[in-house]
């Protein structure tokens, strides 16, 4: 007997390739979205800093835009620079 597979319909979940599961700022899952977004993924992407920490882009932007003297990574307190 020989089995010929004609077509395969599978199911998968997508994941951000990141060290943590949750955003350090909003505490929501990376695979979810920040507190202001509705749709995860394309509409609420992650960004990485040069310190290798990552956040929902909307979360880190809110932090960087809040009135403060220096722009630091919320986790390691190094100067925040976006990873190219």
């Amino acid at each position: 007997m020989k089995v010929n597979i004609k077509s395969w319909r599978g199911v998968a979940v997508w994941k951000w390739i990141a060290k943590d599961d949750n955003c350090g700022i909003c505490r929501n899952a990376f695979d979810g979205c920040c507190t202001d977004c509705k749709m995860p993924g394309d509409e609420c992407p992650l960004v990485w800093g040069q310190c290798s920490h990552c956040f929902h882009i909307h979360c880190i932007m809110k932090w960087l835009n809040s009135p403060q003297v220096v722009q630091l990574c919320p986790i390691c307190r190094q100067d925040w620079k976006f990873k190219e």
Partner: protein, 151 residues
């Protein structure tokens, strides 16, 4: 407002399910808007504050976690500590200029516990009486001059 509540909701849930040692949330104090919490705290064993009970009050603005919470000791027992004024105000840099949105109620509590635990002599800050007379009600309005970085 909504995003602040969502985050606090998460924090509340996690602190309820896995409270850090010596810290517990006073459930009745947490209103539906979540803007104010009271945390019960016990002095860690083997420290100067062993057996003592304190209460910490957290007030959150709508900008939380991008804005730090207002944290003070309240109630009958204000710990006698070089960084804690007798009106309950705490001189702790993470509560003002060193605040980061990655911090949380839990991490603030842990910092305060560790601040108390590392104390070697129970005494009020040197400028206590002057400060208490002149300060604003909100400790965040004080321009702190941090006494030392070690404690």
């Amino acid at each position: 407002m909504a995003s602040m509540q969502k985050r606090l909701q998460r924090e509340l849930k996690s602190i309820q399910t896995e409270p850090p040692p010596g810290v517990s949330i006073n459930q009745n104090s947490v209103g539906s808007s979540l803007t104010q919490w009271i945390v019960d705290m016990e002095g860690a064993s083997g420290t100067l504050y062993e057996g003592e009970k304190f209460q910490l009050q957290f007030k959150f603005s709508s900008k939380y976690p991008f804005d730090s919470p207002e944290v003070t000791f309240i109630g009958p027992n204000i710990p006698i500590h070089p960084h804690v004024y007798s009106n309950g105000h705490i001189c702790l840099s993470i509560l003002t200029e060193d605040w980061s949105p990655a911090l949380s109620v839990q991490s603030v509590c842990l910092s305060i516990v560790s601040m108390l635990s590392s104390c070697t002599e129970k005494k009020r800050p040197p400028d206590n009486s002057l400060y208490v007379k002149t300060c604003s009600k909100n400790p965040k309005k004080t321009k702190w001059w941090y006494h030392d970085e070690k404690v």
